[in-house]
């Protein structure tokens, strides 16, 4: 029996702006098992980052979680007060972001920032925190960690900064790491270093991970299970092998066909017609229908629901709704 570490149930996060309500995340449900790596993939504005920020209650005004549960080991994080959630943030669930330069404080040394994180969550003295920070820096492959402990963030390269972020995120042995586009800002050779580092550390520390990315290559390389988002909703969920082998949703199919391939020479790249919808102007019915090659009249009016199609897979599309399936 697999143990569920995190269960997001029917999450709605909306932004109440002067121009009106922007429904960024609309009824998202998925779970992360212990030791599992889940990838959330989608294009800009699909709600993947807002979903991850909602898990840790990091949504600022005018945004608000209007409905849903985020069960972490059975405990609903949404019901926690600020003091309680702080005990979880950076300790049992930690997060790394796309741009490590803006997530590090420029006026403190990197060592200082890592030991601060350790001292907030663990009962250790200064020296122990420092030792642990140096150990973490060594673990993430920073050369000469005793010296680099005293470096300021701006002196490090992008790849090194992301290593520092990973060291900090993993310093309290979190049960869950949320990585929001962790390698998007990095050059491809540095991305390969960071991905391989993450893989090794996950294996060593047994951390569950949510990777948020737009890069299907990163998904194929890293994750066990994929959640595909479009227009603030989940449109497909499947194991990584299943998804790439047998993509069911027309959007997933289009996404795979429009991804340029480094390992193929002659092939026709297909694209998805139309434009990525913006959250403040979503189409009616199925959000993908204006771009969908299989769109029927029904798709324009009625929104399909996310239904389980067995094998731990689920899909939100009218093409699959008449099957004997169970609602997720």
């Amino acid at each position: 029996m697999v143990e569920k570490l995190l269960e997001v149930k029917n999450l709605y996060t909306h932004f109440f702006t002067e121009q009106g309500v922007i429904p960024s995340v609309n009824g998202v449900s998925f779970s992360v098992n212990k030791g599992e790596i889940v990838g959330i993939v989608g294009e800009s504005g699909c709600g993947k980052s807002v979903t991850s920020l909602s898990i840790l209650q990091l949504i600022d005004k005018p945004g608000k979680i209007v409905n849903g549960e985020v069960l972490f080991n059975g405990e609903d994080l949404i019901k926690l007060n600020e003091k309680q959630i702080k005990k979880i943030r950076g300790n049992r669930i930690s997060m790394i972001f796309q741009e490590p330069l803006t997530s590090l404080n420029p006026v403190f040394t990197v060592g200082n920032q890592i030991s601060e994180a350790i001292r907030i969550h663990q009962k250790v003295n200064k020296q122990q925190a420092k030792d642990k920070a140096i150990e973490m820096l060594r673990k993430v492959g920073i050369p000469n960690p005793e010296k680099q402990y005293y470096s300021f963030p701006h002196l490090l390269s992008g790849g090194m900064r992301q290593r520092v972020m990973i060291a900090m995120a993993l310093s309290c042995n979190p049960e869950l790491l949320i990585a929001d586009e962790p390698t998007t800002a990095l050059d491809v050779t540095i991305q390969a270093q960071i991905l391989s580092l993450m893989k090794n550390l996950i294996e060593e520390l047994q951390t569950s991970i949510i990777i948020i990315t737009h890069d299907l290559g990163v998904v194929a390389e890293m994750v066990d299970r994929v959640v595909v988002m479009y227009g603030g909703e989940i449109v497909e969920q499947a194991s990584v092998y299943d998804l790439f082998e047998n993509p069911r949703h027309p959007y997933t199919q289009g996404l795979l066909k429009s991804t340029p391939k480094v390992h193929e020479l002659e092939y026709e790249l297909e694209s998805i017609d139309g434009n990525v919808p913006s959250p403040d102007n979503m189409p009616t019915g199925c959000k993908f229908h204006p771009r969908c090659p299989f769109a029927m009249d029904k798709c324009k009016e009625e929104d399909p629901s996310l239904l389980s199609v067995g094998n731990d897979s689920a899909i939100k599309c009218w093409l699959y709704q008449d099957r004997k399936v169970v609602q997720v």
Partner: protein, 334 residues
């Protein structure tokens, strides 16, 4: 036209770049005393045949965009020749250069900052036609509407402002403007890097269609190797201001000669989970060295798994090791 045919008619080169350098002065003290130079582009040779697409690929700071900007003399080169249709652009007066820009156009990465927010789409596309006095009145109008449709936009959108468009649509507007004057060469500087995956494919295919339709020659600058591979006929790989390998895309991927190219290609994640454990991966260690203190020998030495004493002291030159395959390495891979 096959590669061999072109090779025989060497004067079929549309563009030839010889020993191109661009050094930027960098002051290191607040008094600006000890001046150092950043060698963004440091002596590169490239050639471009009519009707082909040359991809220039490399990581940030390798000088690929500077190269693109120098060709149009948007940045003045420090040294070298840029021979376009037999004429050295570096020696041209400003006025003559202005005329040449009719034949060489550019498409930029960020469709949000490269379009004037105060101009309507119609005027953005009409501007080059007006500036170069190509058309006016009804003729101009017809041309602009035709261009709008050529790039896959609806003509009803002509009177709108750029902010009303998505990234992909804006890039289409930028492309319409670039092809307006029927240029011979278009320099595409990371034209799809800022776009979503599904939109990237639209723009890449649009560029390919336009190339066939109007017989265009492209320089396609990018850091995304799969996209560069898809669109290019030949590819030049740059590292720290230099070209380290240049050949046809077939050879670059099947007969990779430079260890950096090898590492670069193998670093790209493959969108197929079945291959995740099967592919042998060469991970290039370390970061790019300090660009203000360039090493004396091969610039890739500090990261190269095969580096020797010779590489440390002697700089490899770009040599043609087989037909149209150029490599700058003392010990090319087999």
């Amino acid at each position: 036209m096959s590669v061999v045919e072109v090779k025989e008619k060497t004067n079929n080169y549309l563009l030839q770049i010889e020993g191109l350098k661009k050094h930027f002065p960098v002051s290191t003290t607040i008094f600006g005393k000890t001046k150092q130079t950043l060698k963004a582009v440091d002596g590169i040779d490239l050639y471009l045949k009519k009707g082909e697409t040359l991809g220039i690929v490399g990581e940030s700071g390798c000088g690929k965009s500077t190269t693109g900007n120098t060709i149009l003399r948007l940045i003045e080169p420090t040294e070298g020749k840029i021979i376009f249709e037999g004429e050295d652009l570096v020696k041209l007066s400003k006025k003559k250069m202005q005329e040449i820009r009719k034949d060489i156009q550019m498409i930029f990465q960020d469709p949000f900052s490269s379009l004037n927010p105060r101009m309507k789409v119609f005027d953005i596309i009409a501007e080059p036609l007006r500036t170069h006095g190509v058309a006016k009145g009804k003729g101009l109008e017809d041309m602009v509407y035709e261009l709008i449709e050529t790039v896959g936009l609806d003509r009803s959108l002509a009177k709108r402002f750029p902010h009303e468009f998505s990234g992909g649509q804006r890039q289409r507007i930028g492309i319409a403007r670039a092809i307006a004057l029927k240029p011979k060469l278009i320099i595409c500087d990371e034209p799809v890097s800022a776009l979503d995956v599904s939109i990237q494919a639209q723009i890449l295919n649009l560029l390919l269609d336009l190339q066939r339709k109007f017989d265009l020659t492209f320089i396609f600058i990018g850091h995304g190797i799969p996209a560069v591979k898809y669109i290019s006929d030949r590819i030049a790989v740059m590292y720290m201001g230099e070209v380290v390998e240049m050949t046809t895309k077939e050879k670059l991927f099947s007969e990779t000669k430079h260890p950096y190219t090898k590492g670069l290609i193998s670093a790209v994640p493959i969108p197929d989970p079945k291959l995740r454990d099967k592919t042998e991966r060469v991970i290039i260690e370390n970061d790019i060295p300090d660009q203000l203190n360039l090493p004396e020998g091969c610039r890739f030495y500090s990261r190269c798994p095969f580096g020797t004493e010779r590489c440390k002291v002697e700089k490899p030159k770009l040599n043609e090791i087989s037909n149209e395959h150029y490599v700058a390495c003392h010990y090319p891979l087999n």
